[in-house]
């Protein structure tokens, strides 16, 4: 079933199948201001929702006085938790089967929590209404430090949950603890690092929002919303609001053009629910558009893993075992978006690219007075944390045994011939050739020359570092035996219909947020059917028309929906073959397939095109054949895919200020067979930049009172073109043996691989001073503190 290694495209430029850098079909509308994002939607009679939010992190609501707000011209209503309580809509379930308030009835649990909704006739009136609502609070001392949250005298935050006696949410573990401990006891070398992958934010340039339109006459709800998973959202809405009459056939969720999602637009946030509730109550369309500060302070948070990692190795640096103890700060609710059976996501990929005997990982999740966190930000569920942990501590090991970090990696790589490889924590890696990626990266950056330059600079007292990261990703969730969200299996789907004139429409259960699905999916169909990709229209995001799917996140589109598209197209090709045999009056077995054309073996001039077959499907069918040219596939992947790569980064450090400059960064990725090289490179550029951010700039911090200190772009430091280096990319191709196109998915590798590469480079620059670790983000002041401590600050 699997495809061969692709060496360039097999289809013509006209067909533009896999391997062509087809220009994107979505671009003309985006480039001419004709995109159709959520805030571009308006409906007649539309009202506006704006939200009153808590300035405090924890406390009782003494009183909400809406009287002045209701006097504001244009303000129609102020909704509170008490109002929603009447409909039993003041709480909602999270994707992890925890609960979360929509609006509070008595207690606020984090700063910027939604406290009341103001409905008005305009954006401006709604904002004035928000400013006029007077809420009296009785502040309580918040629990901000997750370690303190587990102390016995810590106040229990989730008193609403029956049986919850402390702030622990769950404990998860993987691997053989005893066997791992035994190796640690006898190992020649043990290294240990404690590290924090801090809370960060997706910061897509478009915030979240929706336009809820309830038609009271028909009892029908249409919700236009920024969601990466429209079908799952529809089901959740039906489950949450079924009791007020919103059953699933009466709900239509439409996800329009999305201005960046990165995982932040997977969960259901209270604002959506308040807008829907307001529309249902008022019988009018209600629009809610978050502003940037609300977005940065209330939703779309990721990471926040405190990890204590150890490697056991022999004296030569051969890794024998890995042990990680983790504390996960989830904020006030476990509202992360992970598959149900994976509370710590796919963290067990932490053994990475290295062969070892045993591993054991454990995670304890805790509640704190912060907004719910843990969205899979450009990450296949905690893979970023796992990779950062492993790739950092491997460097510590290299330092300890006195080996070059690239060499130590090479000596520990899972060898090419060991695939499919069974990792100690239970994964079956599909394919890999880690050395090839390493070789290419070293070659591209001139590794040996850089090491020489570094040695010379050290002599002169200059600080330069070279960082290596050889990550292995796991993505494409996932096989239905293990993967579900709220019980719904994580398959995905495609529906392909070829019209009589040979043009097609293809619909998918996923939803692009900039990845270019309209182009790559068309290329997939073109590859399989031989129709020009230009003739394939791709649609996603409307639950009334698209087949059911779990959506786009965790790099799952190509591995799941892309594969579904292949399978659906192949069904059509099989049908077309029958039609071709009919038209050419030969047996099916006498036909040869060239993309776009069936010809008779030995008589190449006797042929029909796929377009001929499509026309015949409506006009001239073999007897007994069902008319039409349409196929659907729900693809349940047999396994996940395991893309990998090696990144090498060069940094220079200013000994005066502690500033780190990324001088060069080479990223060699292997994502299996490539559908559109241009788009793949674009994904990598973007992912690298979203790795640069947390490595050097971005962090959501809170003070002891629970104030969010990075609540605007003034302090949440998204890199600009000036801070971002000119990325250099390369590729090796190791196809996935089980994906029908041999593709693996690529959206997230770079976000995962870049932070440890940069951190390793900084540590490498300082390694001769005895530095083994730097916490990210590696801010100038942090570096300077180290320089001063080591006596090299000038």
């Amino acid at each position: 079933m699997a495809a061969e290694t692709s060496n360039g495209p097999r289809t013509s430029a006209k067909i533009c199948g896999m391997g062509h850098s087809m220009k994107r079909k979505e671009d003309p509308r985006f480039l001419q201001g004709k995109g159709n994002y959520i805030d571009d939607h308006t409906l007649p009679g539309m009202l506006w929702l704006d939200i009153v939010r808590s300035p405090i992190a924890y406390g009782k609501i003494v009183n909400i006085d809406a009287s002045k707000a209701l006097e504001v011209d244009g303000v129609l209503a102020v909704l509170t938790g008490k109002d929603l309580e009447a409909y039993n809509l003041h709480w909602m379930p999270t994707l992890m089967s925890d609960t979360q308030m929509v609006l509070p009835t008595d207690t606020v649990m984090y700063q910027s929590q939604e406290v009341a909704g103001v409905i008005a006739t305009s954006r401006y009136a709604a904002a004035d209404g928000v400013a006029a609502v007077e809420v009296e609070y009785e502040p309580m001392t918040p629990v901000i430090d997750p370690f303190k949250a587990l102390e016995t005298d810590a106040p229990v935050l989730r008193t609403d949950k029956e049986g919850q006696e402390d702030n622990r949410i769950w404990h998860w573990e993987a691997g053989d603890k005893e066997a791992t401990d035994r190796i640690f006891d006898e190992a020649d070398v043990v290294v240990r690092e404690k590290m924090h992958v801090p809370r960060i934010h997706v910061a897509s340039i478009e915030t979240c929002g929706c336009l809820a339109d309830f038609n009271p006459v028909e009892g029908h709800l249409t919700v236009y919303m920024t969601t990466q998973a429209p079908h799952a959202i529809r089901t959740v809405l039906a489950l949450v609001a079924g009791h007020v009459g919103l059953s699933e056939e009466k709900i239509r969720v439409v996800s329009p053009d999305i201005g960046g999602g990165f995982g932040g637009k997977v969960p259901v946030y209270p604002g959506y629910v308040i807008a829907i509730a307001a529309s249902v109550v008022l019988g009018k369309p209600v629009k809610w558009i978050e502003d940037r500060m609300e977005n940065l302070q209330a939703d779309s948070f990721a990471r926040d893993y405190h990890m204590d990692a150890e490697i056991a190795a022999d004296s030569s640096g051969k890794i024998r075992a890995l042990r990680i103890k983790t504390l996960a700060d989830h904020g006030y609710s476990d509202a992360q978006a992970a598959p149900s059976k994976f509370p710590a996501g796919l963290f067990s990929i932490c053994t990475g690219s290295y062969d070892m005997e045993q591993a054991y990982a454990e995670v304890d999740a805790v509640y704190t007075n912060k907004p719910p966190g843990g969205v899979a930000y450009r990450c296949s569920f905690r893979v970023t944390e796992a990779v950062h942990c492993m790739e950092r501590i491997v460097d510590t090991l290299a330092h300890k045994v006195g080996k070059d970090p690239a060499t130590l990696r090479e000596e520990n790589f899972i060898p090419k011939e060991a695939f499919p490889y069974h990792s100690p924590l239970g994964w079956e890696y599909d394919s890999g050739d880690y050395q090839a990626a390493m070789d290419m990266a070293k070659e591209m950056i001139g590794y040996d020359d850089l090491r020489r330059e570094q040695a010379e600079k050290r002599e002169r007292g200059e600080l330069m570092g070279i960082g290596v990261c050889s990550f292995t990703e796991v993505l494409g969730a996932g096989p239905s035996k293990d993967f579900d969200i709220l019980g719904i299996k994580m398959f995905d789907s495609a529906e392909v219909r070829v019209h009589p004139t040979g043009k097609a429409i293809a619909r998918f259960g996923t939803k692009s947020q900039g990845q270019g699905h309209e182009t790559t999916y068309a290329q997939i169909i073109a590859e399989e059917l031989g129709l020009p990709a230009a003739h394939v229209q791709v649609e996603e995001g409307d639950t009334d028309t698209a087949p059911y799917g779990l959506g786009t996140y965790a790099s799952r589109s190509t591995p799941t929906a892309g594969a579904a598209g292949v399978m659906a197209a192949r069904k059509l090709r099989d049908k077309a073959r029958k039609i071709a045999a009919h038209l050419l009056e030969v047996g099916e077995e006498d036909l040869e397939w060239e993309p776009g054309t069936f010809s008779v073996k030995g008589a190449p001039d006797k042929s029909v095109t796929i377009q001929d077959c499509a026309f015949a499907a409506y006009t001239n069918l073999p007897e007994g054949m069902e008319p039409g040219m349409e196929a659907t596939n729900y693809y349940d992947p047999p396994n996940l895919t395991f893309p990998f790569g090696t990144y090498i980064c060069v940094v220079d450090i200013d000994r005066g200020t502690g500033e780190v400059t990324v001088r060069r960064f080479v990223a060699v990725d292997d994502c299996g067979n490539i559908i559109n090289p241009m788009i793949v490179q674009g994904q990598i550029h973007g992912g690298l930049t979203q790795g640069l951010g947390p490595a050097l700039f971005e962090e959501m911090t809170y003070d002891e009172d629970g104030n969010n200190l990075a609540g605007s772009f003034m302090d949440y430091l998204v890199p600009t073109a000036v801070e971002t280096p000119a990325w250099e990319t390369g590729h090796t191709v190791t196809p996935s043996p089980h994906h029908p196109l041999g593709a693996k998915g690529v959206g997230e590798s770079a976000t995962v691989g870049a932070p440890p590469a940069i951190a390793n480079a900084v540590v490498d620059a300082l390694a001769h001073l005895g530095v083994t670790h730097m916490e990210i983000p590696i801010r100038p002041d942090r570096v300077w503190e180290v320089l001063r401590e080591k006596g090299v600050a000038i």
Partner: protein
């Protein structure tokens, strides 16, 4: 946020102590502060306006005094809520007066402040500057007032 200050006043300790435990006089020495109502012997209602350039924050709330006359030590607990979603402010201040001579006293102040909301978030350390400035003005006025007595 913790603030610690120590300063000397050219006045006898008893006079300084009397000043520090008189809500009206304390309020008068804090620009922007006012006492609006006495709730009981130790508790008052009041307000505090903080004006910094174009920014104008107004807090209303309560002040409670807990006095140890013998040790000349006072714990003042002020808490207030800002207008229009400005957030809350809470300050527990312990001040002690020690006599350094017949007409010289030393005042030590240790305050713990919690400020929530946009001023704490967007302040760029502004609240630290503001509180430093408030203390400075307060001690100046205190010194002047008592010297004038």
């Amino acid at each position: 946020m913790r603030i610690e200050e120590k300063f000397t006043v050219d006045a006898p300790a008893d006079e300084v102590w009397a000043f520090l435990i008189d809500p009206e006089r304390v309020a008068a020495a804090l620009p922007g502060a006012e006492i609006t109502e006495k709730l009981d012997d130790n508790t008052y209602k009041g307000g505090m306006g903080v004006k910094v350039g174009p920014l104008n924050a107004v807090y209303t709330g309560t002040v409670a005094f807990d006095l140890d006359e013998d040790a000349r030590s006072a714990i003042v607990h002020a808490k207030g809520q800002g207008k229009a979603g400005m957030g809350t402010a809470d300050m527990k201040m312990t001040s002690r007066v020690v006599s350094l001579g017949p007409s010289e006293s030393e005042v030590t102040v240790e305050a713990h402040m919690s400020v929530t909301g946009i001023l704490a978030q967007m302040g760029r350390g502004m609240m630290q500057h503001v509180s430093k400035k408030m203390f400075k003005e307060f001690t100046e006025i205190l010194g002047k007032e008592l010297a004038a007595d």
